[in-house]
């Protein structure tokens, strides 16, 4: 492709699709790469979304993403269900390569690649992934009907995963390293009042047991240092996320945890013509609506940049 585009949006989800809506309406003819297997982002793996404004009866995550996608297509966004595999963002014209080998050139880029699940970091956690270790309750919970499941984590994701899993499991144990949860009050209440959920406090998982599938966990009590082993049929890890910024190392300024740094409350990165939004930037709020908000800002920042360059 020898033409030079005005803007390429890398990533989808509420941030990427909202950026596309605004960029398309600003007649920038945006091209959006939504991801070959990750299109739609984190909300594709959730069920009801009850806190996105505008939906008094809630909305299913995938349906919300489908609506946003249709909305950005309506205004002329060209969407590729593919990945950007490398980017050179240093020049005035940014050069990107996609998973099918095509090269794109663009005056500006909006980064919206979001975040990926954090792993505990255990060897056996990785080894048994897909064999009883999972990061996605809606994906895998179905296979653990009447089983005993462990969920590690203390935030909203952990509460949501645990609650969802009670649809299938005979029992769900939430294992958390402190004695209080950082989840929202309503989610904590729901989990605590669910008869199938029990909490194991002040405890961390130090190993995952099982030969070719999960059979149990090795736990350590952080107050007494006592170690124990307990039988479980599955481990769902819900301890947070890490930004997907691997392709940006060395060219875009990142903070100590890999989040993209932006200028004040704008979406401007250290590189002229490169803007970042959504969970790739946000450590603090990480909601669909805040991602959508920063996606809009990124498109407006890009529009202003293009008007003067």
């Amino acid at each position: 492709m020898s033409e030079i585009l005005d803007v390429v949006i890398v990533g989808s989800g509420p941030a990427g699709y909202t950026a596309a809506i605004y960029a398309a309406r600003a007649e920038l003819a945006p091209v959006l790469y939504e991801g070959s297997v990750t299109a739609g982002g984190a909300l594709m793996n959730t069920t009801e979304v009850e806190n996105f404004p505008g939906f008094p009866d809630g909305v299913m995550g995938p349906d919300l993403m489908d609506s946003l996608r249709k909305q950005c297509e309506r205004f002329g966004t060209k969407i590729f269900t593919d990945d950007i595999v490398s980017m050179d963002l240093s020049g005035e014209i940014k050069v990107l390569t996609d998973g099918s080998g095509n090269t794109l050139k663009s005056k500006s880029v909006i980064l919206a690649t979001g975040s990926a699940y954090k792993e505990i970091g255990l060897t056996n956690e990785k080894r048994l992934s897909g064999r009883g270790v999972s990061w996605c309750a809606t994906c895998d919970g179905f296979f653990f009907r009447e089983k005993v499941i462990a969920v590690v984590g203390g935030g909203d994701s952990a509460m949501e995963e645990a609650t969802f899993l009670t649809r299938f499991a005979s029992k769900v144990y939430v294992i958390h390293r402190r004695d209080s949860l950082r989840a929202s009050k309503i989610m904590i209440e729901r989990a605590k009042s669910n008869p199938k959920i029990e909490f194991i406090w002040n405890t961390e998982v130090i190993d995952v047991l099982g030969a070719d599938k999960v059979s149990g966990l090795k736990l350590r009590n952080l107050l007494t240092s006592e170690e124990s082993e307990r039988d479980f049929d599955a481990l769902f890890v819900a301890i947070g996320h890490l930004p997907r910024s691997e392709l940006l190392i060395g060219q875009i300024d990142l903070d100590g945890e890999g989040y993209v740094k932006v200028d004040g409350r704008s979406t401007r990165t250290n590189q002229k013509g490169v803007f970042a939004c959504g969970d790739l930037v946000d450590h603090t709020y990480r909601q669909a609506i805040t991602a959508a908000g920063t996606g809009c800002q990124a498109a407006l920042d890009a529009e202003r940049f293009l008007a003067s360059h």
């Binding site: 297997v37 299109a39 595999v85 998973g99 897909g130 994906c139 895998d140 653990f144 599955a234």
Partner: protein
């Protein structure tokens, strides 16, 4: 028309276990987002590598006995069968270049 074809309990033996070429079985379900995402990629692989590897789909809701038999607890799971045995397992949806790397020995 060499997109991935469905396989059932009735046809599994003939189509998968008795195949003379490697068979990739995609264990999937309708409600599984990543399964739907990887579907078109597997259809492409089925067409591009026809004759070298056969790609079939097994719906775990409809054919749960087979899914249980092969210990499937996460979808999508892709099993490669050679001479009736599982020789490779890939769990989770992966982009095409990554899948081709995993299947390199068979294509």
């Amino acid at each position: 028309m060499s997109a991935a074809q469905p396989v059932t309990a009735a046809t599994f033996d003939e189509v998968v276990l008795k195949s003379s070429i490697p068979v990739l079985v995609d264990f999937w379900a309708e409600w599984c987002g990543p399964c739907r995402a990887v579907g078109p990629i597997l259809d492409q692989i089925s067409e591009e590598y026809a004759g070298k590897i056969k790609v079939v789909k097994l719906n775990t809701d409809e054919e749960s006995a087979i899914a249980i038999k092969y210990g499937i607890v996460s979808i999508p799971t892709l099993n490669v069968y050679v001479n009736g045995e599982v020789v490779k397992t890939v769990v989770g949806a992966k982009p095409k270049p990554a899948l081709l790397k995993e299947l390199a020995a068979f294509i």
